[in-house]
């Protein structure tokens, strides 16, 4: 096996193993996601029609916030125990290694959010045909959230007030994903053609895949030096 692929495999497996050994870390953002969405009916009243109309936006915003809360995990522990410096010193391109870490982060945060979203959709009285769209839109959108979030996490590494700072940096950048992700679900409910939303979400994913690992690697180099 070529050394680069070997390194990618090692980092991915390591990140997953480390996270699974501290499983509360993975569960916290998911529980947060569940709680935030469940709070809305309590605040707004249980009227199914009202819930249905706000459900896409609420679920998407909750997914944004849950991803953001988990960003700290991406580099902070590795930074604290020195693993990150070893990654920076390794002969492999940092961009690829960072992309691997982001993929592992998505598998542990984004993917569970996607998998649990149908439950919330039922809770929020979304019509059945919208549930599939919600899952698909989250599947396309959450990797973008992880990718953009990685830039923010790398920039704020080791700074005081890191957690709140990340939200200031990252949330404005999340707006396009939110617009088209929630827009796709709303479109299905309103029976509009939603091909455009999915094309654009895919375009965002392609754009983020191209630029975010590079920016994250540059930011890590600045933060560690």
């Amino acid at each position: 096996m070529p050394p680069l692929l070997n390194a990618i495999g090692c980092i991915f497996r390591r990140d997953i193993t480390v996270a699974l050994r501290r499983s509360t870390d993975i569960l916290t953002p998911i529980i947060f996601f569940l709680i935030v969405v469940s709070l809305f009916p309590l605040g707004l009243g249980p009227e199914p029609a009202a819930l249905r109309s706000i459900a896409p936006g609420v679920i998407w915003v909750a997914a944004l916030l849950a991803t953001m809360l988990s960003l700290n995990r991406l580099f902070a522990n590795d930074h604290a125990d020195g693993t990150l410096e070893q990654l920076l010193l390794s002969p492999h391109p940092l961009t690829v290694l960072v992309l691997t870490k982001i993929a592992a982060h998505w598998a542990l945060t984004g993917l569970p959010l996607v998998l649990i979203s149908p439950l919330l959709a039922i809770q929020m009285h979304l019509p059945p045909q919208a549930i599939g769209t919600l899952v698909l839109s989250l599947l396309l959108g959450t990797p973008v959230l992880s990718l953009l979030g990685a830039v923010g996490a790398a920039l704020t590494l080791g700074l005081r007030g890191g957690g709140v700072l990340v939200s200031l940096l990252v949330l404005p950048l999340y707006t396009p994903v939110l617009i088209f992700g929630a827009g796709a679900v709303t479109g299905v409910i309103a029976d509009i053609d939603i091909e455009a939303q999915f094309s654009l979400l895919g375009a965002f994913l392609a754009l983020a895949l191209t630029f975010a690992p590079w920016a994250t690697a540059a930011a890590l180099r600045v933060s560690i030096e």
């Binding site: 827009g183 965002f204 600045v222």
Partner: protein, 242 residues
């Protein structure tokens, strides 16, 4: 070329330039405001309240222009490691954020008589609001890093990510807006504008730009003094002042 890029030389040059630029700003502002408020005719549809555009449009224009300048200087600083570009990029954000805020406030003031509400989720207002958040994030990151060199490099990366995102955000918001609101509210149309209104508008844009460069130079001088405070030439400058 290297001579001009040294902070010491630039400090003196900027000191000579600022009074001239400041004077030019004042002249342009006075002429622009006079033409805009007294000479330009009232709009047949919007009456006198359209005149807020002479502040609003230049402010909105500057808010984006400054972000571009900031990101451009940041990129130059990252790639070529030029100190002056770093310093320029680091002084832009508060000025840009102020212009964005001014654009938001004037937009809202204009919205009250036109739309009958202080705030509408109009596409352009919304993307200005997000731009404002981007500036705030930039400034928060800058403030939380103590080492100025690290702060400059980190914020430059953030500005570059932002610059890629700004057009995406803008078009997303525009698309979102047309879906959610009838287009009649969001636009007063951008058809041909009469020269008597265009002239003050261009003058005001020019005035705001010169103002930005004046303030940037003044802020850069302060930043240079602070960064180079341990060098002998700064000690000399400070001595000659007291």
């Amino acid at each position: 070329m290297h001579k001009y890029a040294s902070p010491k030389f630039f400090y003196a040059l900027a000191g000579q330039l600022t009074p001239w630029l400041g004077g030019l700003t004042a002249i342009l502002l006075i002429v622009g405001i006079y033409l805009g408020l007294f000479i330009a005719p009232a709009d047949y549809q919007q009456g006198e309240s359209y005149r807020i555009m002479f502040v609003h449009v230049p402010a909105a224009w500057m808010s984006m222009f400054i972000y571009m300048m900031m990101a451009g200087a940041g990129a130059i600083a990252l790639v070529w490691n030029i100190k002056l570009a770093e310093i320029f990029s680091s002084v832009c954000a508060p000025v840009g954020a102020s212009f964005t805020f001014l654009a938001l406030v004037t937009g809202s003031l204009w919205g009250k008589p036109m739309w009958g509400t202080w705030w509408a989720w109009d596409a352009r207002l919304t993307s200005e609001l997000i731009l404002f958040f981007l500036y705030i994030g930039y400034m928060a990151l800058q403030a939380s890093i103590d080492d100025p060199r690290r702060a400059a490099r980190a914020t430059a990366i953030l500005a570059l990510v932002g610059v890629v995102n700004i057009p995406v955000i803008h078009f997303s918001v525009e698309w979102w807006n047309t879906l959610h609101q009838p287009a009649s509210v969001s636009k007063i149309g951008t058809p041909s504008i009469h020269p008597s209104m265009l002239a003050p508008l261009l003058l005001m844009i020019f005035a705001f730009s010169v103002y930005f460069f004046t303030v940037a130079l003044i802020r850069m001088r302060n930043e240079i003094l602070e960064r180079e405070r341990h060098t002998s030439w700064v000690a000399q400058v400070l001595e000659s002042k007291t």
